[in-house]
């Protein structure tokens, strides 16, 4: 008997009906204050420590981050932040999280979606979840947005964004298959397009060494101004480019039809394209106003 089909057959008729969302939300596990980690593996201690030290330093002094439109991030209910992505060890995600924590009137923790790769790589697997990253699985995004009503950050470009070379900077890659739009619609969450400039120049990639990628088993093995020359910590050797983050007007997926419309592939694709175009346009706008890469 093929084992793979067992699940589908079992899922056929046997599943009990789910109660309405409000009831299911109430049934979420209560928070136990004695715990060091939450159910996703996030550690307030590790996350807080990073926030106070490394992220604080980079946010305030190194990248001198400027934030626009932080009010576009909803202060309650689930919302999906969609951003462009760049840099060998991308600094954009922690900066967006920090921007919300610093500037937003109702700061909420941001769940950063990362590749499944990190769960399988020793070391990363321990650290990454503790800093508030979750694997980019549609079910994870759905639970966070719909059941837990939290903020989630996705990079639809994924690895294609971070591995692109310096000469391709600020050219958005393909936005996957629009899975993020589908997830937001299913969860009836708002989508907040987000643009980041500075990340590309702070950690430029000049080339890739495929042999080393194979040997180390990493996602890619880039050549940056400091990596691999300074060893693993060379990954943190960011250049002091000026960071600017712009949160755009949120898109309400409920108005577009919510969960039912998520089945409409054409609508999903169109929306994904529109969001991509919007981010690209705003990136161009931000770049055209930037006088200096380093001073802003």
């Amino acid at each position: 008997m093929p084992a793979e089909t067992a699940g589908e057959a079992a899922a056929g008729e046997q599943l009990p009906e789910r109660r309405p969302a409000e009831v299911m939300r109430e049934l979420l596990p209560a928070i136990e204050p004695e715990r060091r980690l939450n159910d996703w593996g996030r550690s307030e201690r590790v996350d807080g420590f990073m926030d106070q030290t490394l992220v604080e330093f980079f946010y305030r002094y190194w990248f001198r981050t400027e934030v626009e439109g932080v009010d576009n991030v909803p202060s309650e209910a689930g919302a999906l932040l969609v951003s462009n992505h760049a840099g060998a060890l991308p600094p954009d995600a922690p900066m967006i999280a920090k921007a919300i924590r610093e500037e937003h009137p109702n700061p909420r923790p941001l769940n950063i979606t990362v590749e499944h790769f990190f769960k399988g790589y020793p070391g990363f697997s321990m650290l990454i979840p503790k800093t508030g990253c979750v694997a980019a699985h549609p079910a994870n995004v759905h639970r966070l947005l719909y059941d837990e009503r939290q903020l989630v950050l996705v990079f639809p470009e994924g690895r294609k964004g971070t591995e692109k070379l310096y000469r391709d900077r600020y050219r958005l890659r393909r936005f996957g298959r629009g899975g993020f739009v589908e997830a937001a619609m299913r969860a009836e969450a708002q989508i907040v397009p987000t643009c980041v400039i500075g990340a590309e120049e702070s950690a430029p990639i000049f080339g890739h060494v495929d042999v080393m990628k194979k040997i180390t088993g990493l996602l890619y093995f880039p050549i940056t101004p400091t990596f691999p020359w300074l060893g693993p910590f060379g990954m943190l050797g960011y250049l002091p480019a000026k960071f600017k983050i712009r949160f755009l007007e949120p898109i309400d997926t409920l108005e577009l039809g919510g969960a039912e419309a998520a089945e409409d592939k054409a609508l999903v694709q169109t929306l994904a394209q529109e969001i991509r175009a919007q981010i690209q346009e705003n990136l161009h706008d931000m770049l055209s106003k930037r006088k200096s890469v380093w001073l802003g």
């Binding site: 084992a3 008729e13 046997q14 299911m24 499944h116 697997s125 979750v134 079910a139």
Partner: protein
């Protein structure tokens, strides 16, 4: 939240418990004895029960469906609770586990089939090993997800096959309410599972560079979950797991043990098989859990009105407390041995005086943490 309560099933009166000599079968039969509206509790197994039972009738029978069917019909069983699934590959040889999990399940299902069968409820205790543990798993499995990857070990394959057989049975027999409970890894002072064994070691082996998220359920909660399924109308598949998913490092810390990251991240399988010889008995199906962990969404079963007595954290703490007390309490518990003649005398002899049926079991007593 009384509004959530699934409708009560008052027709559960004559119960057949399979796997009476297993931990779960024995515990469940003990628990059922204290409910007065249960008229008959029949337990079947190939071995004698190892728990003291008051009114449960033990029938020694192999997994032959014709014999089981005769028992089911003769005793007019309305509810079958199948607790016999082997969910730890170290507890039984692969061939025996397969025989029990796949062939045994099919035989029991066959014994309940038929338009004139008195059975109207079938409860199957399964395991969250059903879902496996892989790199690209969701953080919380829900019941409808199925298994994203093919089974890695023989045991997982057997569990999938057994559930498949139960699903087919449910489809063919509309008049039977089929409940499948997928239990997470169980912890508790009494039960013997892969993780209770690991946490009893002075240092707990971990895979270097990994700190998996794990979710447990307390042994009492599993018994209560089976009871809950028996007394409520709740057909379908449910995850049974306590609230809270903890990192292994946190679990080890709560248990007062030392983390021992000696399993290499590459070639973990080979390393564990050699460790097994040294006494670190880690079953193959748990190896991947030590790397990737597993969490499940437990809300569906809660929405039928079930309340867990322990969170994952509390289950770990409870076990830790028991382990600290164990050296002090050693030898004070007496071992129960089934003696057929004595049991039959106590049950059937007119000379035995019975004042209150079910005086020893008792729901209230059963709700208290057991063990010492």
């Amino acid at each position: 939240m009384t509004s959530l309560e699934a409708p009560r099933d008052t027709d559960t009166r004559r119960v057949l418990v399979t796997g009476l000599s297993t931990y779960w079968g024995g515990r469940l039969a003990q628990a059922l004895e204290s409910f007065e509206h249960i008229d008959a509790i029949i337990g079947v197994d190939t071995e004698a029960p190892n728990r003291e039972l008051e009114r449960t009738e033990y029938v020694k029978v192999t997994n032959q469906h014709s014999l089981l069917e005769r028992i089911v019909r003769a005793a007019e069983i309305d509810t079958v609770i199948d607790t016999r699934l082997v969910v730890n590959s170290l507890m039984a040889a692969p061939r025996l586990a397969h025989e029990n999990n796949v062939i045994g399940t099919m035989n029991i299902l066959a014994a309940c089939t038929g338009s004139d069968s008195p059975v109207r409820k079938f409860i199957f205790k399964s395991s969250t090993h059903y879902y496996g543990a892989e790199q690209d798993d969701p953080a919380f499995f829900t019941e409808e997800m199925g298994r994203p990857h093919p089974a890695r070990t023989g045991l997982e394959r057997d569990i999938l096959e057994a559930e498949q057989a139960v699903a087919e049975f449910a489809q063919r027999n509309d008049n039977v309410n089929v409940t499948v409970l997928r239990c997470a890894n169980v912890l508790g002072p009494d039960v013997d599972t892969a993780f209770t064994r690991m946490l009893r070691l002075p240092a707990v082996p971990m895979v270097l560079g990994f700190d998996p998220r794990l979710q447990f359920v307390h042994e009492d909660d599993v018994v209560h979950a089976l009871e809950h399924a028996a007394f409520h109308v709740a057909p379908g598949i449910y995850n049974v797991a306590a609230d809270g998913v903890l990192a292994l490092s946190e679990i080890i810390d709560l248990a007062g043990r030392l983390p021992l990251p000696i399993l290499p991240p590459w070639g973990t399988g080979i390393a564990t098989s050699s460790l097994r010889r040294l006494g670190f008995r880690i079953p193959v199906e748990v190896v991947n859990q030590l790397r990737f962990g597993r969490g499940v969404d437990n809300r569906l079963f809660k929405s039928t009105g079930f309340d867990y007595g322990y969170t994952t954290r509390e289950a770990v703490i409870k076990l830790a407390e028991h382990m600290r007390l164990a050296p002090v309490m050693r030898g004070t518990e007496h071992e129960y041995r089934y003696e057929r003649e004595i049991e039959e005398f106590l049950r059937w002899s007119p000379n035995v005086r019975r004042e209150h049926p079910g005086e020893r079991g008792g729901v209230a007593a059963d709700r208290e943490p057991l063990g010492f």
